[in-house]
C-alpha cells in the first residue's frame, strides 16, 4: 500500500514524541547519577553537570564492606544477592517448568485442566496473602534473611509462569516429532530430552528471561524476609535508601542504573521474542 507524504511525516513525528517521552526519564536517571551533589540540590535544575563525576560508581564497586551504614557497599552486595537469587530461581523454575510444561502440552491424563488451573491460580495469588504466614514459617526454619528462603519463595511464583509459557511453546512444535522418535525406539523421556528440548531453545531462552525479570523485580517478599546485606536484594536496598530523609539522589540513581542494567540488556537482546513470547499463551489460551 502507498502512503501519502504527509502521513509518513506524521507517523515519524509521533514516533519521535514517543521516543522523547520514553527516553527523558532514563536520561535524567543517568545524568543524576554522574552529577555532583551540589548540582542536584541547587536552586535551579542543572540539566547537564559542569563536572560530571563517576565517583558514585567507583564507590559502589570498590568501597570496602565496613559497617552497615556504607550505602555504596550495600548496593554492591545487594546486586550480588539479586544476581544469585534471580539466577538460581530461574535455573530451578525453568528446569521443573520445562518438564511439567511438556506433560500439559502433550500427555493425556486425568485432572489435566484442573491441575493446570491450580498452578495458574498460584501465579495470580497476591503476595500479600502469602507473606504473613511465610514470614512466620521461615522464622521457624531459621531461613529469614537468607538467600535460600528467598529462592524457595520465588521458585513457587516463577514456576507456574514457566510451566505455562513452556507448555504453550511445546504446543507450537509439530506433534509428530515424538511419534517419529518413538518409532525409532526412543523412550518417552528419551524423546523429550534428545528431540524436544534441543528444539525448544528459543522457548527456553525467552521463558528464562521472563523468569529472571520476575525474580529481579520482586519486592514485597524481599522487603519482609530480609534485614541485612546477607540477603537484601537491590530493590530493597534502593527503596530503603530512597525513604531516608535528605538522601543523596545521585547515589540512588547510580544504584538504579546498575539495577536496571541486567533486565534492560536482557529485554533488548530478546526484544523480537517479547511480543510473540509474552502474549501468545495469554491471548491464545
Amino acid at each position: 500500500m502507498r502512503h501519502s507524504r504527509n502521513y509518513m511525516i506524521a507517523i515519524h513525528v509521533a514516533a519521535v514524541v514517543m521516543a522523547v517521552v520514553i527516553l527523558l526519564p532514563f536520561v535524567w536517571l543517568v545524568i543524576s547519577s554522574v552529577s555532583p551533589a551540589t548540582d542536584l540540590v541547587s536552586a535551579h535544575v542543572h540539566w547537564w553537570p559542569a563536572h560530571p563525576t563517576l565517583s558514585r560508581y567507583q564507590a559502589i564497586f570498590s568501597s570496602s564492606v565496613g559497617g552497615g551504614d556504607n550505602v555504596a557497599a550495600n548496593f554492591r552486595l545487594a546486586m550480588v544477592n539479586s544476581l544469585i537469587v534471580a539466577g538460581a530461581t530461574t535455573a530451578i523454575s525453568l528446569t521443573v517448568g520445562a518438564l511439567g510444561g511438556y506433560a500439559f502440552a502433550r500427555l493425556r491424563f486425568r485432572m489435566r485442566r484442573t491441575s493446570l488451573f491450580t498452578f495458574l491460580t498460584v501465579y495470580m495469588l497476591p503476595p500479600i496473602a502469602l507473606v504473613i504466614p511465610l514470614y512466620l514459617a521461615l522464622a521457624n526454619l531459621h531461613l529469614l534473611d537468607s538467600k535460600i528462603g528467598l529462592i524457595l519463595t520465588y521458585c513457587s511464583i516463577v514456576t507456574p509462569f514457566c510451566l505455562w509459557t513452556m507448555s504453550n511453546y511445546y504446543l507450537s512444535l509439530p506433534a509428530d516429532l515424538e511419534e517419529a522418535a518413538r518409532v525409532d525406539g526412543c523412550s518417552r523421556l528419551g524423546a523429550l530430552v534428545r528431540i524436544i528440548l534441543p528444539l525448544s531453545r528459543p522457548g527456553l531462552l525467552t521463558t528464562a528471561m521472563f523468569g529472571f525479570l520476575l525474580a529481579w523485580d520482586e519486592f514485597l517478599f524481599a522487603l519482609i524476609f530480609t534485614s541485612t546485606s546477607n540477603a537484601k536484594t537491590i530493590p530493597v536496598a534502593i527503596a530503603e535508601f530512597t525513604g531516608k530523609f535528605s538522601s543523596d539522589f545521585g547515589l540512588i540513581a547510580a544504584g538504579g542504573v546498575l539495577a536496571a542494567g541486567p533486565p534492560v540488556i536482557l529485554a533488548l537482546l530478546s526484544q523480537r521474542f517479547i511480543v510473540g513470547g509474552l502474549t501468545s499463551g495469554a491471548v491464545k489460551g
Binding site: 514517543m18 535544575v45 500427555l107 504466614p133 514459617a137 519486592f219 530512597t242 533486565p263 529485554a267
Partner: protein
C-alpha cells in the same frame, strides 16, 4: 512414511489403550512432580494458615493462644471507615491507570504497526520502561516530582509554563494522580505488546478491501481494527486490572501511602495493619478479601480466554 502410519495408528491405539494410557499418565505424574513440590510445598501451608489466622484475633508475631473470633475480622473490615477510604483509592488507581494504559497502549501499538522506518528501533524503545525495575521506576519519579529540586518543576520553569514550584507529592489527591502517571509510564508497554500481537493477526487484505469500498482510515479503525482487537483488549484489560488492584511496590517507594493516607491502597493498608500494627489476624482477613477480588477478576479472565479460543476456531 506417513501413509502406513496413518493407517496403522488407530488399530495400535485401540489395542494398547489400557497400558498406553496408564503409562502416559504415570509419565505425566513424574514430569509434574518436581514442579508440584516446588510450588505447593511452599504455597499450600501459607494459604491455609492465612485463613486460620484470619479467624483469630492475632496481634503479635509470637506463637501463643489468641481468642477465636470467627468471621469477626471480616465483619470488622466492613465497619472500618479507613478501609472504605483505601478501597476508594484502589478503585480510582485501578480505573484511571488501566484506562490510560489502554488508550495510550492502543495508540502506540497502532503507531508501531504503521510503516515506520527502522521499526525495530522504535519497538525496542517501548521495551525499556517495561524492563526498568518497579522500585527504580518509583524512586526515579519521586526524584522527578521533588518539590524543591525536581526536574518536573525545573522543566515547567524552563518552558515558562509556571515558575511557582509545585509539591507534586504534597497533597493527597494530586499525589495519587502523580503516582498513577509514573505507573502508566512504565506499564503502558505491556498493553502495547498485547495489542501489537493482536494487530499482527489481522490480515492486511481486509484493509485493502475496506479501502476499495471507500472506507476512510478513521472508519476502518472503528469498524474493522477495534472489533478485531476486542479479544486482545479484553485480555490485557483484565490482566492490568488484576495487577493494578494488587499495587504495592510503587506506593511504598514513592509516597509510603501518604500524604494523609491519600495514596494508600488495599494491599498497602493490609501490609500496614499486619507489619506496622502487628494485627496479623486483621491483616490476614484483609489479605483474603484481596484474594477473593483477584479470583473474581481471574474468572472473568478465564472466561474471556475460552471465548477467544472459540472465536479463534471459527
Amino acid at each position: 512414511m506417513s501413509v502406513p502410519q496413518v493407517a496403522a495408528a488407530p488399530v495400535k491405539k485401540l489395542g494398547a489403550r489400557g497400558s498406553g494410557a496408564r503409562g502416559e499418565a504415570r509419565f505425566a505424574f513424574l514430569l509434574l512432580l518436581p514442579a508440584a513440590l516446588v510450588v505447593f510445598g511452599v504455597v499450600l501451608y501459607p494459604v491455609a494458615r492465612t485463613f486460620v489466622v484470619s479467624l483469630f484475633a492475632v496481634d503479635s508475631p509470637l506463637p501463643g493462644s489468641y481468642p477465636f473470633v470467627g468471621l469477626g475480622n471480616y465483619t470488622r473490615v466492613f465497619r472500618d471507615p479507613d478501609f472504605y477510604g483505601v478501597l476508594g483509592n484502589t478503585m480510582y488507581f485501578t480505573l484511571v491507570s488501566t484506562g490510560a494504559e489502554l488508550i495510550l497502549g492502543t495508540a502506540v501499538a497502532l503507531l508501531l504497526n504503521a510503516p515506520l522506518r527502522a521499526r525495530w528501533f522504535w519497538r525496542s524503545l517501548v521495551v525499556l520502561p517495561w524492563a526498568l525495575p518497579t522500585i527504580v521506576n518509583g524512586a526515579l519519579w519521586r526524584w522527578i516530582y521533588n518539590g524543591q529540586y525536581g526536574a518536573l518543576n525545573g522543566l515547567l520553569e524552563a518552558l515558562h509554563i509556571s515558575s511557582t514550584p509545585v509539591q507534586w507529592l504534597g497533597s493527597p489527591f494530586l499525589a495519587l494522580n502523580m503516582v498513577i502517571a509514573a505507573d502508566v509510564w512504565k506499564n503502558t508497554s505491556i498493553v502495547v505488546f498485547f495489542i501489537l500481537a493482536g494487530l499482527q493477526t489481522i490480515p492486511s487484505d481486509l484493509y485493502e478491501a475496506a479501502r476499495i469500498d471507500g472506507a476512510s482510515a478513521w472508519s476502518a479503525f472503528w469498524r474493522l481494527t477495534l472489533p478485531l482487537l476486542a479479544p486482545s483488549i479484553a485480555v490485557v484489560l483484565v490482566l492490568r486490572t488484576i495487577e493494578a488492584f494488587k499495587v504495592f511496590d510503587i506506593i511504598y517507594v514513592m509516597t509510603g501511602g501518604g500524604p494523609a493516607s491519600g495514596t494508600q491502597t488495599v494491599a498497602f493498608y493490609t501490609y500496614l495493619q499486619a507489619f506496622s500494627n502487628q494485627l496479623f489476624g486483621y491483616g490476614s482477613a484483609l489479605a483474603y478479601l484481596i484474594v477473593v477480588a483477584v479470583f473474581a477478576l481471574a474468572m472473568v479472565y478465564l472466561r474471556l480466554l475460552r471465548q477467544g479460543q472459540m472465536a479463534g476456531v471459527e
